[in-house]
Symmetry: D2
Subunit: 344 residues, 4 copies
């Protein structure tokens, strides 16, 4: 049994960590922090946790207390983890950061997209990008994990087999992505009201979104050269789920695309290649850590279409964070992450 | 490890049994039947089951095969279980019927409400009404369980402490209930289409609904005399959940209603009395077997209002069925039913 | 053609006034005010108004400018209209207040429920309660209209025929009401987020809600003596609509209830008594000023159930305000309010 | 005042015609047919029509009766209009067909995609494709209109300015489209149930959809040569609305794209080019005949992204049909189509 903490636990990724860790046999949540809600019991804010965490309450963040834990998750807005993560790492606590703070290896690029100086550029080299399907070995020994963003997870897992095999023009990638509203967080914004966001669909950030450089960096790692990516996210009237529709131009005879995908992910516990001709639904992964994929080649032409679905709060955030933790501490990779999706 | 079967597994209560039993350490689903889908793998119909039941397929119902199992769930439309259940009981298989077939003790009343003769009136005496909060001891030794309906569960658990204590006029009960659309089943009906049922609210069956005699029978058991109940169900634009708003007229000084409820349910693993002043949300029980209750006395007047929420597919059907199974086979009552609700 | 203004136009009742008035042949919207959005064009905030109000912009409220108009709507939070309305009335401008500021005749009761002193108690006698089905003649000559709240409209229209006929026990009224989320306004509150309010149902204010005294006052006007009312509102996962389920205990042979309702509303342009046995859906009034009613007597017993649906933003607010304006200025009562509901 | 009929009026495009025509000052709906519902009043099937069509009832289709009308709308499944339309045309009645029956000019291609022989190939030459923004003059004198499909309308209006200007590679078009569930019609299908389609997102027809040849034909008309188009539709959890996200590869310096779009549509009453940087929402056109567009060039690169939203039942079906009717009969083009969208 290890002891973990959660910094910034009032948002959706925080409560999702609690929900999932309630089922984890080897993890004890010893602390959860929130400046604004210190003193409030987590089950008073999140009634689904009644009976699971009846005494755990939000506390002020305290480096001393957190530094005594085995691992600490950061479920904070960007910019918050930079300094505190370093303090904890210095005390030997392993850090799993769900925010964007350590995802980009280039501090200047981070500053450009997030509009503030990077607070811990010296830590960037140490950070491991926590996508197990690409970096499993490094994750096992990592001290600091940058958990991938939700869109980046869905997009990278979809393009991975094609780019590794060199089958598509890496200058012509188009990722049309649809996300449920929890992707925008639990902040009280007019645009996220049920009365505003339901019964409607819209794109946003068409001219540039913060997940673009993260995706590009990840795809470049696979491709070994810079990629040309157009990324358009859309707000979809549902709570959870990301549907990434990925387009690529074939630059060679691709052979059996279905077999390519199945082989690439044959041993991955959380990537499910659906049968040929499938159209995965986001609800098929509601509440679980699985990414389901399908690959199509319309009319046998030059365009390949990959459909990739995840739950943005699980494989796109808290579930993937726990998958990383399992790898870091030598637990079975799927520990605590085995329940089926809630359907219907 | 016991072996169980599911008869009529293509509907929502069937897939919900599979979802929940995937987490049950002592149960193996050995057979699932469907006349219309025989030969189809369950994970092809329900993609959330991929990775959990990769070989299980629907089969034709076969009394020989089912009779060799320890227990069989019926997740069938009404009228189907009457005969087959008897055959299985004769072979020593215990039967947990999620349909309405054995809920009413009076065969004539059943015929009146369901518009057909009762197919097994001789079994009615044997059937135990599977509401553990009322009939736990009888359930433990039962051979045949009639799992309560969804509305009846929410309503009975809400009125139970008040009627047991003799605090309200049992001739003046009003149950205003709101249900998600899965309560109408998975049948392809125009009225259940997203385009018809979302963004709208309506009552139905205001002049008489099949759950009325079941609720009345249960409340009469508590009260020891016939009750006067008005029951109006409403179709609510959500997938899961029942919210019962229960009204009663106090006929005595009720004392501390909050304490009454807390005491009555202190040892119940699946009834959660919320703090005074609470308004439980259906989402707080999404996917779980808990009933959450709150009791109010507006303006300190003569009317008491109980708010009762359940997930109609779990505590209102498949979860309660498993709770019964656990009791019948001597497992810990909450085995397989311990995950927190999915929120948000 | 008359000139009107809207004070506080950024909320849902403001944009709804603009949407409806765009179809009104005799009304020109000359001014719309908002302190926070002054200078912003209304069609930039509400894209559905593009092509209809391409130049109208929010302005600072200015008593001089507003006082030169024929009528001014207040679509403000409570407490705002008290002073400004008086200034406008003194200049001869007729005021139609959609807020709660002039609904209760008793200033002390207003202060009790709204937690602040009433800012214009001397105006209360002048205010006419704008429910045309009860006060049509007074509305025609009114200078100051208090437009009824959304719940009060649905509840009063449902009970009206029964109370007028003296058929039900006025001490035992129960109004179980369900509202879409626009009832909570356009404020950025966590509880109104799609991620929080969709896929869920909950009661609120079970121990006391601000619409209770307003409904009670209205029912008392009908009954000619104080009523005993239990009112429980519920938040429903939809944008628009109120469904009021009203319970009463018959204290006499009611005769033909259907005929009673049909006769009472035979000449009302905005009350539609549905055929016997109906269950009106809120979507059947989406976007329109109609209240649809159905009356049931379950099992021929002593309880009568009235189902009453309105669009909370139209008959429950802006549409009813325009209906009042039509009466005040001698236009045909349904002018600008004749489009069918949007269904599906 | 002209007299019109509707053949096949029970589906969503039928009721939408009735809803819109209720506001049309020059049109009288003299007949509406339905084999299955003959004798039923339209307001009994669609309660939003109560008070608007209190006597109109569905009747058996009768060529004699329909042939006496000025115009007849077909709101039928494909294959139904072929023969009856011809009979009516022979009687001098003008036909506006909302189905796919006359959209493709090549009868063989029609047969290929719709899986049956074309029933009236000799009429194809006569049919005018009813997209006023391309074919206004021909529509005015047409006897037979093929109203464009919903996806084709959104896609063609988005690509039109770019293809006319020769700015994008017409071999590399990608149309990622999202539709509300009414696009699937009012048929009772499991996949369209609220419990199945809400809280989820999925693609469908990724390998080939019937609207593909229609879009390709239309784009070819603009481009004057065959185009290469990948079209992936998605089912979105909302009732109405299409959001088309269109990608093109610039093959020349495009100059000012915003100005290009604004100029092209400057005189179009039903195309609204949003300000630069906009992201149109489908709800901004809920219930109305407008297509709203925005054009983006992410990071100033070679990809152009057009966002195009319509209401699939209005500009994508019944509203466009009425727009055609207005042109054919010399009415002001926007007659009966002037109400603002319902928002929120």
């Amino acid at each position: 049994m290890i002891k973990v903490g959660i910094v910034g636990g009032t948002g959706y990724t925080g409560v999702e960590l609690l929900r999932l860790l309630a089922q984890h046999p080897h993890v004890n949540v010893a602390a959860i922090t929130s400046r604004s809600e210190a003193g409030v019991k987590v089950c008073d804010m999140y009634p689904n946790l009644r009976g699971h965490y009846d005494t755990l309450a939000f506390s002020q963040p305290d480096a001393q207390q957190l530094g005594a834990l085995d691992a600490v998750f950061f479920a904070t807005p960007h910019g918050v983890a930079h300094v505190l993560a370093g303090e904890l790492l210095d005390k030997g606590t392993r850090v799993i950061d769900l925010s964007a703070d350590f995802r980009l290896r280039d501090a200047d690029e981070w500053s450009h997209w997030y509009g503030q100086p990077h607070g811990a550029p010296e830590r960037l080299k140490q950070a491991i990008y926590g996508l197990p399907e690409m970096h499993r070995d490094n994750i096992k020994t990592a001290q600091l994990i940058a958990v991938p963003g939700c869109y980046p997870t869905a997009v990278q897992l979809g393009y991975l087999p094609l780019l590794e095999a060199g089958l598509i023009d890496h200058q012509q990638l188009i990722a049309d992505c649809k996300s449920g509203v929890t992707g925008a967080g639990r902040g009280a914004k007019v645009g996220s009201l049920l009365a505003e966001a339901s019964e409607s669909m819209k794109a946003y950030g068409a001219s540039g979104h913060r997940h673009l450089p993260e995706i590009s960096q990840g795809l470049k790692d696979i491709q070994q050269s810079a990629v040309g990516l157009t990324f358009v996210p859309h707000l979809t009237p549902m709570i959870r789920g990301i549907h990434a529709t990925l387009y690529g131009q074939l630059n060679a005879d691709p052979g059996d695309l279905q077999a390519l995908f199945e082989k690439r992910y044959a041993n991955e516990p959380f990537v499910d290649v659906m049968p040929a001709g499938s159209h995965p639904e986001t609800r098929s992964v509601k509440g679980i850590n699985t990414c389901r994929l399908a690959v199509h080649r319309p009319s046998g032409g030059n365009t390949v279409v990959v459909l990739s679905v995840i739950d943005n709060l699980v494989k796109g955030a808290s579930g993937q964070a726990i998958q990383n933790l399992n790898l870091m501490f030598g637990f079975e990779e799927s520990t605590g992450l085995t329940a089926p999706a809630l359907l219907p």
